[in-house]
């Protein structure tokens, strides 16, 4: 999962061939999808880690709270990946038993 995608906005000349237009569209969609995914993740991390690490907000973040926030963020990302693996495994199992598409190769 690339958090912010690759923001290589070094597109100097406007694309004109079919091939270039296609590549440019795909790049834009990739960037926006990565940005939207990151935004959702950051919002959730903020919510849960504020809950877990800053029970009583003081005049500033203490060193302990800062450490907790870093650890919480890493843990949340690990937790998200575990959730994603479990969900994809289950969905692909269910859809296989229904004779549907095989999603086992999908990764986010």
């Amino acid at each position: 999962m690339a958090l912010f995608g690759s923001s290589s906005s070094a597109e100097a000349s406007s694309p004109s061939s079919s091939q270039e237009i296609k590549a440019s569209l795909i790049r834009q969609v990739q960037e926006e999808a990565a940005m939207s995914n990151a935004r959702s993740l950051i919002g959730k991390v903020n919510e849960h880690c504020f809950d877990a690490c800053v029970p009583t907000p003081g005049a500033s973040l203490s060193a302990k709270e800062s450490t907790c926030l870093s650890q919480c963020m890493e843990k949340y990302i690990g937790f998200w990946n575990a959730t994603s693996r479990a969900y994809i495994a289950r969905v692909s199992k269910e859809s296989k038993s229904l004779g549907g598409a095989d999603l086992s190769g999908v990764s986010l």
Binding site: P15, S16, L25, E31, A52, F79, T83, A86
Partner: protein, 90 residues
Amino acid sequence: MDTQTQLDIAKLNDADRKELTQYLANEAQKSNIQQTVHGLADICWKKCITGKISSGRLDQPEEACAQNCVERWMDTNFAVLKHLETLRGQ
């Protein structure tokens, strides 16, 4: 994204147009799955991570809890649908 180049979609040939349509369908599905996972991680975090956070690593019990949470959530989903089906038949 302020300097987005204006793209002339009309210049796309049929093959590229078809490939793009397929690509967009895949991306839409991926995005849907990601949104579901965001929702699930939200729900399951509340149930699984209750104590004080003392490490950035996801430990074994936490990982197992995440997996069980997703599986039981799916079971719940199916159970609700199944019961709804019996209600409909009454």
